[in-house]
C-alpha cells in the first residue's frame, strides 16, 4: 500500500513537471517569436485627416468627456476668408462674431482681424468638443484647412480607441508614438 502511494506520487510529480515545462516553453519562446515584431516605442491613436468624413461621432464616442479630439487649423492651407464657411452658419445675416451667426455650437473658434479682407481663425481647445461641424463646413465650401486631431495631452491611449471602433471611415489609426500627429499640409504641385 505504501509503495503504491509513493508510486502514484511520483507519477503526479512527473505530470506536474511535464506540465510546468509545457507551459514554460511557450512563455519563454513567445518573446523570441515576437522579438522581431515588438516595438519599443509603441503606438498612439490618430485621425487621418484625409480619410475623415466629419461624421460627428468623435464628439460622443471618446471615453473622455469632452472628447480628446479637437479641431485645428492648418494655417498654410487656410484662405483667411471673411466669409468663413467653418466659422459662419449657413444663412448668417452678417459676417461678424455675433453668436447667432456662428456655426460652432460651443463658440470655440476665435476670429481675429488681420488686414483687409483677411481674418485669422484659431481654435480654443478648451471649448472645442470635436463635433466637426466646422470641419464639414470648411471641407464642403472652403479649402479644407480645418481638421480634427486627437490631442495627446488629453488622450488616455486606450488599448483600443473607442472612436476607432465607431469610426465609419476607418480614419482613426495607430501611428508610431514618435510621430503622434498627422498634420494636414498644403499640397505642392
Amino acid at each position: 500500500m505504501k509503495e503504491r502511494k509513493s508510486k502514484s506520487g511520483s507519477r503526479r510529480d512527473f505530470v506536474k513537471t511535464a506540465g510546468r515545462l509545457l507551459l514554460a516553453a511557450p512563455v519563454l519562446t513567445l518573446p523570441v517569436i515576437l522579438s522581431g515584431k515588438s516595438d519599443a516605442k509603441g503606438y498612439v491613436w490618430q485621425i487621418d485627416p484625409y480619410k475623415c468624413t466629419s461624421c460627428e461621432l468623435c464628439r460622443t464616442s471618446c471615453v473622455m468627456t469632452p472628447s480628446a479630439v479637437k479641431c485645428t487649423n492648418a494655417f498654410p492651407m487656410c484662405g483667411y476668408c471673411d466669409f468663413c464657411p467653418g466659422y459662419l452658419r449657413q444663412g448668417a445675416k452678417a459676417f461678424n462674431t455675433a453668436a447667432e451667426n456662428q456655426l460652432c455650437p460651443t463658440g470655440a473658434i476665435i476670429r481675429k482681424f488681420v488686414e483687409e479682407p483677411y481674418f485669422e481663425y484659431t481654435i480654443d481647445e478648451t471649448l472645442c468638443d470635436g463635433c466637426s461641424k466646422c470641419v464639414k463646413g470648411c471641407a464642403d465650401f472652403g479649402n479644407g484647412s480645418l481638421y480634427l486631431q486627437i490631442m495627446h495631452n488629453l488622450c488616455v491611449n486606450c488599448n483600443q480607441c473607442a472612436i476607432a471602433r465607431k469610426c465609419p471611415s476607418d480614419a482613426v489609426i495607430r501611428v508610431p508614438a514618435t510621430e503622434p500627429y498627422m498634420r494636414k499640409e498644403l499640397k505642392k504641385s
Binding site: 515588438s38 471615453v63 485669422e120 479649402n143 483600443q160 465609419p168
Partner: protein
C-alpha cells in the same frame, strides 16, 4: 467617311486631354481660395501640438509591475499576512487603477498578443508584451500572486468584498465556463482585427477614469454590488486572463498554503474561502470500487478528443455569424441588403463608404477574406474550448486521496483570507 476614320485614331488623345482638364478642375477644388499674400508682415502661425508623457514612463509601469509582483509573492508566501495583501492591493488600485487609469493592463494585453501573432501589420509594443508575460511567469513560480494584489480589477473587488455568500458548487462550475468562451472569442476577434472585446467590456475602467458611457458605469457598479456578497465576480465568472493564470498556477513551483506548517486536518478553514477554492481532506473510503470509477474516467478521457473535434466543427459553422463583429462585414451586409432587397443603407458607415469611392466588389471581396480568416481561426477556438471542457470533465472523475486541506491551485487567488482560520501557528 475617310476623314472620320482618320480622326478615329486621335480619340484616345482627345480623351486624355479631357481627363487632364477634369483632373485639374478637381484639384483646384481642394484649394478653392488662394493663400492670401499679406502686406502687413503677418507670419503664419504653426500649431503647437502637445505630446503625451514620454514612452519611457511605460517602462516605469513595467518596473512597478515587477516590484508589486515580488512584494505580493513575498507577503503571501513568506510573510503570510492578509493585512499586507490588503495594503499592496490598495497600492495597485491607486497606481494601476486610478493613476494609470486602467490602461495598460495584463488582461487586455491578451488581445495585443493575438493581434501581433496573426497580423503582419501590427507589431506589439514592448510594455504590452511584458505585461502579458511577466504575470504568467510569476504564476508559474508562485501561483496567482498577480490576481492577489497587483491586478487593479482584482484589487477593487477584493477591497469591496465584505460579506461572503457561498455559491452552490454546481452553479459555480457552470459559470466558470464563461471565461474560457470569453477568452476564445476575444483572441479570435483580435486576431481577425475585428474588435478588442475585453477592453470594450472592461467593467471598472470607467470607475478608474471617473468618466464612462452609462452602460459601462451600470455594468461596473452592478458587478461591485454583486461583489459585496459574491466576492470577485469578474475574476471568477468573466476574466479571460484569469483562465491563463488558472492554468499556469496549477503547475506552480511554490504556492500559498493554508497552514504555515503541517495541516492538522481540523476542518476549521473549511468555510474560510469565499471562492470555494479549498480542497477538502478526503481520506480513502473503507469500501472501494476501483474498477467502476476507472472505467468511467477512461470513457471521459476518450471523450476529450471527441469534444475538441465537435467544438471545432460547431465553431467552424458559426464563423460567418461571428464575423458580424467585424465592422467591414457588417457594412458589407448592409450594402448587400440595399442592393438585393432595396432597404436603404443609412448608417454612417454606409454614407462614408459611398463617399470614399470604394467599389462594392472591393468591399465584398474584403468581406469574403475576413470570413475566410474567421473560418480558419474559429476551429482552433473550438479545439481550445473542447479540450478545456473535456479535461475539466475528466478531472471530475479522478478522485485524489488527500489527508489534509490545501488550496486549489487553479482557483486560489492567494488572497490570504484563510490564514486566520488556521490554528497552527509558528513563532518566528
Amino acid at each position: 467617311m475617310k476623314k472620320l476614320r482618320r480622326l478615329k485614331k486621335y480619340i484616345p488623345y482627345f480623351i486624355f486631354v479631357l481627363l487632364f482638364i477634369w483632373h485639374s478642375v478637381l484639384y483646384a477644388q481642394q484649394q478653392r481660395f488662394p493663400r492670401p499674400e499679406f502686406e502687413g508682415g503677418y507670419t503664419f502661425p504653426t500649431h503647437q501640438f502637445l505630446n503625451q508623457r514620454a514612452p519611457m514612463w511605460e517602462y516605469m509601469d513595467v518596473a512597478v509591475l515587477v516590484g508589486a509582483l515580488m512584494v505580493t509573492a513575498w507577503i503571501a508566501l513568506k510573510k503570510r499576512s492578509r493585512q499586507g495583501l490588503v495594503w499592496i492591493s490598495l497600492f495597485s488600485l491607486a497606481y494601476f487603477g486610478f493613476y494609470r487609469q486602467g490602461c495598460i493592463c495584463a488582461i487586455g494585453s491578451v488581445q495585443n498578443m493575438s493581434l501581433a501573432l496573426f497580423n503582419d501589420s501590427y507589431s506589439i509594443p514592448l510594455p504590452a508584451l511584458l505585461f502579458f508575460i511577466i504575470p504568467l511567469i510569476f504564476a508559474l513560480l508562485f501561483g496567482r500572486v498577480f490576481c492577489a494584489g497587483v491586478c487593479p480589477l482584482g484589487a477593487i473587488q477584493e477591497l469591496t468584498g465584505f460579506k461572503q455568500v457561498r455559491v452552490p458548487k454546481s452553479v459555480e462550475m457552470v459559470l466558470a465556463v464563461i471565461p474560457f468562451v470569453y477568452l476564445g472569442l476575444a483572441v479570435l476577434f483580435a486576431a481577425t482585427q475585428s474588435q478588442f472585446l475585453i477592453c470594450r467590456y472592461d467593467p471598472f475602467v470607467g470607475i478608474f477614469r471617473l468618466d464612462a458611457p452609462y452602460t459601462m458605469i451600470i455594468f461596473g457598479s452592478l458587478l461591485l454590488i454583486v461583489g459585496i456578497f459574491v466576492n470577485r465576480p469578474y475574476c471568477r465568472y468573466l476574466c479571460p486572463y484569469g483562465v491563463l493564470q488558472n492554468i499556469f498556477s496549477r503547475f506552480s513551483v511554490k504556492h500559498v498554503t493554508i497552514s504555515p506548517a503541517e495541516c492538522r486536518d481540523c476542518r476549521l478553514c473549511e468555510s474560510g474561502c469565499p471562492y470555494d477554492a479549498i480542497l477538502q481532506s478526503d481520506p480513502a473510503p473503507d469500501v472501494e470500487k476501483p474498477k467502476q470509477s476507472f472505467k468511467g474516467s477512461i470513457i471521459y478521457f476518450l471523450m476529450i478528443p471527441v469534444l475538441a473535434a465537435a467544438f471545432a466543427v460547431i465553431l467552424y459553422n458559426f464563423a460567418p455569424s461571428l464575423s458580424v463583429m467585424n465592422n467591414n462585414v457588417k457594412l458589407a451586409r448592409e450594402i448587400r441588403l440595399e442592393k438585393e432587397e432595396g432597404i436603404k443603407a443609412v448608417s454612417k458607415a454606409a454614407v462614408a463608404f459611398y463617399e470614399s469611392g470604394k467599389t462594392e466588389d472591393e468591399l465584398f471581396e474584403e468581406e469574403r477574406q475576413i470570413i475566410g480568416r474567421f473560418r480558419k481561426g474559429a476551429p482552433w477556438v473550438g479545439i481550445f474550448l473542447g479540450l478545456s471542457l473535456g479535461i475539466g470533465l475528466f478531472r471530475l472523475t479522478i478522485r485524489k486521496i488527500r489527508t489534509f486541506y490545501e488550496p486549489d491551485r487553479g482557483r486560489c487567488y492567494s488572497c490570504g483570507k484563510c490564514f486566520k482560520f488556521c490554528p497552527v501557528k509558528i513563532k518566528t
